[in-house]
């Protein structure tokens, strides 16, 4: 099965390096390019564009397996997949062929939404994309852009002629400045960076065809992929914590018996198991809707992200509590999970933004 072969490839590639990457704050670029060139980082891409053609469900499972090993690598996968999806949706035929092809050939992409003045309120973004003859000019500033420190391309969302647009900005272009976020809380090797776009001039071909549509519609469509990918990544965090807690609670003895025989510890394991299962079910349901082309995929992706991120943050905190000093060294799988999971409650729609979206959806559904 392709999924198992890809999982094995990711597992071999990561080997025992996830902790080292986390502590160093960097994944070797050759590792990322190598996986990218094999199509693993955006495995849902159609074979016509050099992709592996996985279903959403299969890609989700691959994302979870990657997330269980290394959330930084998983966040690169989320970014690359969201970039490919954005180009697929918003580009014309020539743009899809050209740029999605690059993303399956080893080039790396970041997706830039957030700005100093526009986090949860993406409609407030100030980055401007304007036409100037045969060119476009991109001007603005983006913050906390995952993968930007590694990226060849930044998929920039901005304002354009009263609506929104998406520009594909090469990081090598004059006027692009990329500055790493120092010691980020989680996904420390995810390449988070601040991106300054100082009147970056590009050929008009770098403007995706959809230009001029409402900005919120564009961000909602792009983020639906990102939310589902992050949700699956949280499933991975939960699985890693579940394994660590189950082993530790069975092996470690205190007060003359294994931790697992202490009921207060057993409860942590039970809740972690419940958290992993419910997050998995929510993700599977959302990915099934995605694969079936059901409109339910849109709210289901927000639900999956919300459930999985909350479960991961609570689950990682309880795993930390059970492992205690055994899991507290820098770079330990549970220590990483504790930091990475908290970030998952913030990105791709914070807990609170997900709650607002779900409340609105529930209210409309109830009529």
């Amino acid at each position: 099965m392709v999924l198992d072969a890809l999982s094995a490839l990711v597992t071999e590639t990561v080997a025992d390096a996830a902790s080292e990457w986390d502590v160093a704050g960097e994944i070797p670029i050759d590792v990322l390019r190598g996986l990218g060139a094999k199509g693993v980082l955006c495995a849902e891409v159609n074979p016509n564009f050099g992709g592996l053609g996985l279903s959403g469900t299969e890609n989700g499972e691959l994302t979870a397996r990657t997330g269980a090993l290394c959330s930084s690598l998983r966040s690169v996968m989320t970014s690359q997949g969201m970039a490919a999806w954005t180009i697929q949706r918003f580009g014309d035929k020539a743009q899809r062929t050209e740029y999605i092809g690059r993303l399956t050939s080893g080039e790396l992409a970041a997706v830039a939404f957030s700005e100093p003045g526009a986090g949860s309120d993406l409609a407030a973004m100030a980055t401007e994309i304007r036409r100037d003859g045969e060119d476009i000019v991109v001007d603005g500033s983006k913050t906390w852009i995952t993968v930007a420190a590694y990226a060849d391309w930044i998929v920039v969302f901005g304002r354009y002629q009263g609506g929104g647009a998406v520009a594909l900005v090469p990081t090598s272009a004059p006027g692009v400045g990329v500055t790493r976020v120092a010691d980020p809380l989680g996904c420390r090797a995810g390449g988070h960076a601040r991106v300054v776009l100082d009147n970056v001039r590009l050929p008009a071909e770098n403007l995706l065809a959809v230009a001029g549509q409402p900005l919120v519609m564009l961000t909602t469509i792009a983020l639906t992929y990102g939310r589902l990918s992050v949700a699956w990544g949280c499933v991975g965090i939960l699985r890693a914590c579940l394994t660590a807690v189950a082993r530790h609670a069975a092996d470690r003895e205190q007060f003359g018996k294994p931790l697992l025989r202490h009921q207060l510890v057993a409860r942590h394991l039970a809740e972690l198991y419940a958290g992993e299962r419910t997050a998995t079910f929510a993700c599977e349901q959302a990915s099934r809707s995605w694969d079936e082309g059901s409109p339910e995929q849109v709210p289901a992706s927000v639900l999956a992200k919300h459930v999985a991120a909350g479960n991961a943050a609570r689950g990682a905190a309880s795993a930390m509590q059970v492992l205690a000093s055994a899991g507290a060294a820098g770079g330990h799988v549970v220590e990483r999970a504790y930091r990475d999971a908290k970030l998952m409650e913030i990105i791709e729609g914070s807990n609170e933004i997900c709650q607002l979206i779900l409340a609105e959806h529930a209210a409309i559904a109830a009529g």
Binding site: P214, I221, T224, P295
Partner: protein, 92 residues
Amino acid sequence: MTDSTTDLTVADIEQRVGEFLEAKTRMTWEPEVDLFASGAVSSLFAMELVVFVESTFGVAVEGTDLAMDNFRTVRTMSSLVTRLRTGGDGGA
């Protein structure tokens, strides 16, 4: 895409779109009423509409076709579907 979609008339398309909108919003929609001006639809709804149109009528709405104006009314959606089903490709 199913065989049953191969000979759809404009009236068929508008009926299916209307049924979907009614199920989602619990309101009936005249063919030329602006969905987005009404405030009855959520911020996620534009994308739900896109996915509904694609899966129901076996078309891909990408590139320049992915315009809010194509989804603004039942009629504009049926025009989009008819155009895409007869081979027009605004994404070219």
